[in-house]
Amino acid sequence: MSRTALLACGGGLIAAALYPLLFGGSNYAVNLGFLVLFAAFLGQSWNIAGGFAGQMSFGHAVFFGTGAYASTILHVSHGWNPWLAWPVAIAAGAAVGAGIGTLSFRAGLRGSYFALVTLAFAEAFRILANSVPFTRGGLGMLIKSDPHPANLQFRDPIWFYYLALVLCVLSLALAWWLTRSRFGARLAAIRENEDAARALGINTFREKVRVLALSGALCAAGGTLYAQKYLYIDPSIAFGVDKSIEMLLVSMIGGAGTIFGPLIGAGVLHFVSEVTRELGGALPAIKNAQPLALIVYGVILVIIVGYLPDGSMGLFRRRRALPQGQGHA
C-alpha cells in the first residue's frame, strides 16, 4: 500500500472516529452513523462471498439470524455473558456457511441456482425458528436491559457506533487482504471462470466452502451486535428477506467485489432512506414515503445495472481507464 493510500485510510479513520463529535453529541446522528457502518459491515460480509468469489446469495439473513439467535439463546437461556457468546455465535455462522456451502457446491449448484438455494435456507431457518421451543417461536426473545459494557450493552449509543466502526474497519482490512492474498486470487479466478480455475488446479469446492464460512462468520457477528443493541429478536427480524436484500443492495450499488463498495452503497441507501423519510414527516401530504424510497432505490439500481455494472466504484475505474483528456470532454 502506498504512503498516500495509507494516509487517506488514516484520515478516513480519524474522520469516522470524530464523526459523533462533529454533531455535538447528537444521538440521532450517532445512531444514523451506526446504521450506515452496520449496513456497510453486513454488506461487506455479503461482498466477500458474492463480490470477491462470485457466489451471489439471496439469503445471507440465514447467517445474520444464526448469529443473533446463537448469542441470544446462550445469553438468555443459559446465562452466558454476551461477550463470551459472541465468538460462539461467529463460529455458528461459519459452521452454517460451511454446511450450506458443502451441501450446495457438492450438488454442483452455481449462479442463480445457488442464489435461490440460499434464499430457501434462510426461509427454512425462519420457519424453524418459528417452530422450535428454544427460540420461543414467534414470541421472539427479549434480552433483559442491563446497560453495562460487561453485558455488551451501552447506555450511550456512541459505544455501539464505535463497535460498528471497529467491525467495519476489520471487514475493510479483510477485503483489502483478499485483493492481495493467494486465497483472494483463487477466489477471483473462481469468480471469473470456475471451470478454468479448476483446470488450473484450484480446488474450487474447498475455496468456495471456505469463503462462505468466512462470510457467514462475519454476518453472524453482525447478528449478535444487532441483538445486543435492540434487545429483541424474532424469526422475521432475524431471518427476514429484507436483511438479505439490504446486504445485497449495498454491495451492488457501491460495487460488488470492491473494497469500499459496501461502504459507499450503505451511505447512498441510508441517504435515500433518510431523505424520503424526512419528506414523509415534513410533508404529511406525501403519506407513503416508502414507495418513494423504493422508487428511488429502483432507479438507482436500474442505472447501476444498465450503466455501472461494477457499481459506483466502477465509475471511478472507468474514468481512470480513459486516456488522458477524454474524461473531461
Binding site: A5, G12, Y19, F52, G267
Partner: protein
C-alpha cells in the same frame, strides 16, 4: 474472456473515494431538529409505510385530530394555553427505524411519544425512550412484553392480549353455554409473529376451561397471499369454531377464502382480529356477516364517540380502532400535562402514573396504571349483523343480541 480481468486494487483514488464515504454519509445525515420553546411537542411514531401502512395512517389520523381538538379547546390551560405540536415519524415497520425516530424526536425536544402499532418496534422504541426518561404511550401494541420489563416510562391505556383473551374466552363461553354447548372444538389460525403467536397460545390454553378443545394451531406468515391450503386443512378437521389472530389483509383474505369454500362452522371468532373493522364490512358484507371479534372498540353509547365517528367518516376515512385509541392517548397525555402543569419528564411521568383519566370514547373503567398497564382497559366483543358492527358484550355497552351458532351454508 471476461472484461473483468483486473484484480480489485487499492489506488490513491479508490482510497480517497472510500475514505470520503464516511464524510458523504455524515453530510447525508439530515441535521437533527433543534428543540424549540413554546409548543409542547408530541412524537407520533407509526408505520405509515410498509405492510401495515393503513393501520399506521389511521393511528396518525386519530392522534393529529386529537391534537387539533386540544388546541382548539385552548391548549393546556395550566401551562398558559400551551399548544400541542405533532412531530410525525414513520417506523417503516422496522425496529431500527423506530429507534432512529426516537433519537431524532428526542433532539426535537418531544415531551412524550405515542406509538408504535407493532410490538417489536414498540419494544425497542420504548427501550430507547427510557434512556431519556421520556414518557411513551402505547396507543396500539398487543404484546404484554411491552409493559412487563419494569420500565417506568411506558403507559398503555388499552388492554394487552392477556386481558383480551380472558374477556374473549369469557364471552365465547357464555355464548356457547346459551347455545347449549354447540361448539366443542376449535382451530386457531394466527400470524407467526409475537402478537399472533402469543394470542393463539393463550387462547389454546384457556379454551378447555369453557369446554372447547383446541384441535390445531396454524401459523401463517406476513404477508400471506393465499389461504387455500389452510382452508382445506380446516375443512378436513371440521372444527366448530375457527379463531383468528392476524393483521388486516390476512384476516380478510382468510375470511373470504373460508366463505368462498363454504366451510360450515358454528362461528368465526377472533381475538384482536386486525381486519375486523368497517372497511371489511363495507368491502365484503357477505363474508363479514356473523363474524365475531374481541377487540378494542368504542363505546357505542358515548355521544363523544359517535360525534368523532361522524367527523372521521365525513373526512372520507373509516372509524377504525387505531383512530380512537390514538385519539384517546393524546387526550390522556393532555390530561396529564394539565395536572402536571409542566412538560418536565419526571412530573409528566408521575402525572401519568397517577392518572384517573376517563376515556370517554372507550368502554373502560377509570384509568389506573399498574406497572404501566391500565387496569381499567377492556375490550369489546362485536359481531357483524346486517351490514353493521354491533357490540354484543359487555352487556352494559351491548347494542345487539349475538347470533350463535351462525346459519349454515346451504
Amino acid at each position: 474472456m471476461s472484461k473483468r480481468d483486473h484484480r480489485p486494487g487499492v489506488t490513491r483514488r479508490a482510497f480517497a473515494i472510500g475514505t470520503g464515504a464516511l464524510a458523504v454519509s455524515s453530510v447525508a445525515s439530515p441535521l437533527p431538529l433543534r428543540a424549540q420553546a413554546g409548543p409542547i411537542r408530541v412524537g407520533l411514531i407509526h408505520p405509515v409505510t410498509g405492510f401495515v401502512a393503513y393501520n399506521g395512517q389511521q393511528s396518525r389520523l386519530g392522534a393529529t385530530m386529537a391534537i387539533e381538538d386540544v388546541n382548539k379547546a385552548g391548549g393546556i390551560k395550566s401551562m398558559g394555553g400551551a399548544r400541542l405540536e405533532a412531530v410525525l415519524g414513520d417506523s417503516q415497520s422496522k425496529v431500527e427505524v423506530g429507534v432512529s425516530e426516537v433519537e431524532k424526536m428526542n433532539e426535537a425536544g418531544v415531551a412524550a411519544y405515542i406509538g408504535c402499532f407493532q410490538s417489536p418496534v414498540g419494544i425497542a422504541a420504548t427501550q430507547a425512550a427510557a434512556k431519556y426518561n421520556t414518557p411513551f404511550l402505547i396507543d396500539v401494541g398487543a404484546s404484554d412484553l411491552l409493559v412487563s420489563r419494569g420500565l417506568k416510562n411506558i403507559f398503555r391505556l388499552k388492554p394487552g392480549f392477556g386481558k383480551c383473551v380472558d374477556d374473549g374466552i369469557a364471552a365465547l363461553g357464555a355464548l356457547n353455554k346459551a347455545a347449549g354447548g354447540a361448539a366443542k372444538s376449535a382451530v386457531l389460525v394466527h400470524e407467526s409473529g409475537e402478537f399472533g403467536t402469543g394470542t393463539a397460545k393463550l387462547l389454546a390454553g384457556k379454551l378447555p376451561s369453557i369446554g372447547i378443545e383446541a384441535k390445531e394451531l396454524i401459523a401463517h406468515d406476513n404477508p400471506t397471499r393465499n389461504f387455500d391450503n389452510i382452508a382445506l386443512r380446516i375443512r378436513s378437521m371440521a372444527p366448530d369454531i375457527v379463531m383468528m389472530s392476524n393483521y388486516g389483509n390476512e384476516y380478510m383474505l382468510l375470511a373470504r377464502t373460508l366463505f368462498q369454500q363454504k366451510i360450515n362452522v358454528a362461528g368465526m371468532f377472533s381475538v384482536l382480529g386486525g381486519g375486523f373493522n368497517y372497511k371489511f364490512v363495507k368491502e365484503m358484507p357477505d363474508v363479514a356477516q356473523f363474524m365475531m371479534d374481541t377487540n378494542h372498540w368504542f363505546n357505542p353509547r358515548s355521544a363523544a364517540a359517535q360525534a368523532l365517528k361522524k367527523r372521521v367518516e365525513a373526512g372520507g376515512a373509516l372509524f377504525t380502532f387505531e383512530v380512537y385509541l390514538s385519539y384517546s392517548n393524546v387526550m390522556l397525555l393532555a390530561d396529564a400535562l394539565e395536572r402536571a402543569g409542566s412538560a418536565d419528564k419526571e412530573k409528566l411521568t408521575a402525572a401519568l402514573a397517577s392518572s384517573t383519566f376517563k376515556a370517554e370514547l372507550l368502554p373502560y373503567g377509570p384509568t389506573k396504571f399498574t406497572n404501566g398497564q391500565n387496569e381499567g382497559g377492556r375490550p369489546g366483543v362485536m359481531q357483524v349483523l346486517k351490514g353493521d358492527i354491533e357490540v354484543i358484550a359487555p352487556a352494559e355497552f351491548a347494542s345487539a343480541q349475538a347470533v350463535f351458532p351462525r346459519p349454515k351454508f346451504t
